[in-house]
Amino acid sequence: MKKMFCFICCILMVSGAAGVQAEVKNPDTFVLADYRTVQTIDPATSYDVAGSMRIWNLYETLIFFDGSSTEKYVPLLAAEVPTVANGGISADGMTYTFTIRKGVKFHEGGDLTAEDVLYSFKRNMIVDQDGGPMWMLLEALTGTGATRDKDGKITPGIFETIDKSVEVKGDKVIFHLPKAYPPLLSILCYTASSVLDKEWAISNGCWDGNIKNAAKFNNPSPGHEPLQKIENGTGPFKMKRWEPANQFVFERFDGYWGPKPQIKTGIVKYVKEWSTRKLMLQNGDADRVVVDTPYVPEVRAMDNIRLYEVPQLGFTAAMFCRKINPTGNPHIGSGKLDGNGIPPDFFSDSNVRKAFLHAFDRETYKQDVFNGLVIMPSSPNVEGLPYHEDVPVYDFDLRKSTEYMKKAWGGQIWEKGFKMIVTHNTGNDMREAAAHMLAENIMSINPKFRIDVRNVEWKDYIVQIRSFQYPLFLSGWGADYADPHNFVYPFMHSNGYYGRFMALKNDEIDKLCDAGIENVDPDKRRKIYSKLQNIWYQDAIGVPLYQQIVVRAYRDYTHGFVPNAMFTDDNEILKRIYKK
């Protein structure tokens, strides 16, 4: 009965998808159906992809990415992009000068001044909410990534340092860096660098402009930041209405300084269920819907849809923890090399890591899981980032895998076998497939090898990773800014987010990572990052899994989208969109 019913449902689904053609609806309105919600539209605290989309359309930054490029910029609120050649960047890379554009108005009528820019940067850094994005600017402009220490106490003198890091001279805003920081221009494109109207912000309860009072405005609880649900930017769109977890409505700002957008109204609807989103796209009730990888074949089969394939600046890997926490840890069985578990330092032997790397069938994974629509990375410095190069990878070769396993732990592993659990986060089919592939291939070389694959809800997963509970974990990282430092540091430095939880400790890597961010000379940086990418291979730090290519599905009468690897599929620059 159930089978019959499912069969009928499938027939209905297919006929429903194929039999209908929607008309062009509402030419001056653009509707995007997404399934991610927005927490806040305060540029100082928003740190998710959905929030960024709203803020990029409401507010503006000094500069922005030039079309599809992640390395070239165009001026927005700055009159021009500073370079060493035009004197905007000092030769030592420690001073950046921006001339502020004239004739720019805020949504509520105020005029943009250099004072507004100065205030915005200071205010945003002062806010520095836990889990927020301000670490990027703080790291670049103050040399420290936070305003508070590990116990949550304010670092003495931090607000004075913030105060001195930016200054105004006439119509110029000057940034003083404690040391050169090459990714600064990319960070200045991020929403955390959005510019506010000083008087409006103060009147709405933001920092009062007096640095002595800064502590009172530091680290507000989520939802208690004054600009959580109000805005007054200079962007091409104003917020008409925000119904959280329902819809966000943009309205064209007629006083915009740049070319007038063709779309009058932009609506982002929260639609959680994929089938509902798909039918909305099919019927023309949505001009674009967010499509997850498993559903790409469905949109490919639809009529009147235009698809864009956009590689993302993101990297996912399977990572080996070299110092697993043995306390009450079921993932390592007995905790000994006795055939019923693994010791906590199981992966400290590079032979084990190399055996796992040779057991990963990259080509099959690419074809079977992604239908070929993926970039298979060789290191964290993925395609699209500066200084990327294709370093060698470990070929799928179970004979080599066997050889390494025989050498590992003086032959004890091969003789006694082992038992462990590999986990991935629930709902991520790509990671699940990779975990099963690794487990099956390793188990196939010796019947004494036993690996169970389990899934864990994402938030539990990150907590367990942080507790060093997983011998092998699969996780990823999306770009904050387009620079190798944002990827190499987290994955390879002993203090990097993943480096720490892999218990990596390699002085050479740490020194190279530190040198990479402190150096402004492109040639020197190229050499440093080349070396780091090769070390990723030589030291067998982790299994590079995938660099995702996102598919965007638009109704074919919707034009203007410009792909950029920095933007996830939640993003949409509305001023570029038009329908005809």
Binding site: G223, L279, N283, R466
Partner: protein, 343 residues
Amino acid sequence: MLAFITRRFLLLILVLFGVSVLLFGILMTFSPERRAATYVSSPQQAKDIPKIIKQFGLDDPFYLQYFRWMKEVFKGNMGWSLVASRPVWEAFWTYFPITLEMNLFAAPIVLFFGIWLGTLSGIHRDQWIDHITRILAIIGWSLPTFLFALVLLMIFYGYFQIFSPGVLSDQLKMFIMDNPDTFTRYTGMYTIDGILNGRLEITLDALAHLVLPVMTYVIVVVALNMRVMRSGMIEELSQDYVITARAKGADKHTIHIKHARRNALLPVITVAAQLIAMSMEGSIAVEVVYNRHGLGWWLAESAVQLDMPVLMCICLFMGIVFVITNLTLDILYAYIDPRIRLN
């Protein structure tokens, strides 16, 4: 009667206290790290988990955290919902009317069809009408709601392009946004607010958006009511008083409707009341598929994300709903069956 009701309302305070302690205790079994992870949505943010624990005192003893929460509740602050991005209380009054609106239309239909079809089945036991309703009941009750909702959406919205998801069409929503002075949200339910504002087109549009959700809910839920009613009718019809009434020559209609059905109603009312009470926390499948963001969707998202203030709020709300439902049931029992005395 008044003393009985007063006693039950006093009991409500105890129930709410018990529910809050129990749920808070259950939530405390999650580690501080896990509860702090609620505020995190990317690995980048996860580095601040220790600071978040300190900021919110998540590693404080249970009683301290409970009394801190209690203190805020007495101040009228139910907390902040990360899922809804707004205060819990404000979010509750946004989502609850969406769920209530569907229940207002679905509950009478469920009751009516449940009692009517159940009575028919019971009277015509093992006849064709009984077989048909039994088959329909089995199909309805065993249907996965999520799948059934999807099938209806694909047929009506996907193929015939009618009954679109959501609560109101975009054009009318934009009209309300553009003319906020001409439309007041008295109840948060567009069907009723449309009438109160004298804008029938809004009521009709909202009704059109309710057709599929109500149809899904009714077909899935009516089966249980129908089966309980049928069993009750069969049992009552075999009682001695029915045989006596027949022997005395009473007409079938009087026996079935006036005597047997009234007695068979008691279990049906119990089941129906519990179903309606449960439906107040919303139907997750219906709300997700038809994109109606009510309590069901909110509760599901909050449970997945461990949004504690929301879980506490909805559980307390459900505690109130069930106490009131049980009270109403007791009063109804006394009305239907004179043998039952409230005291």
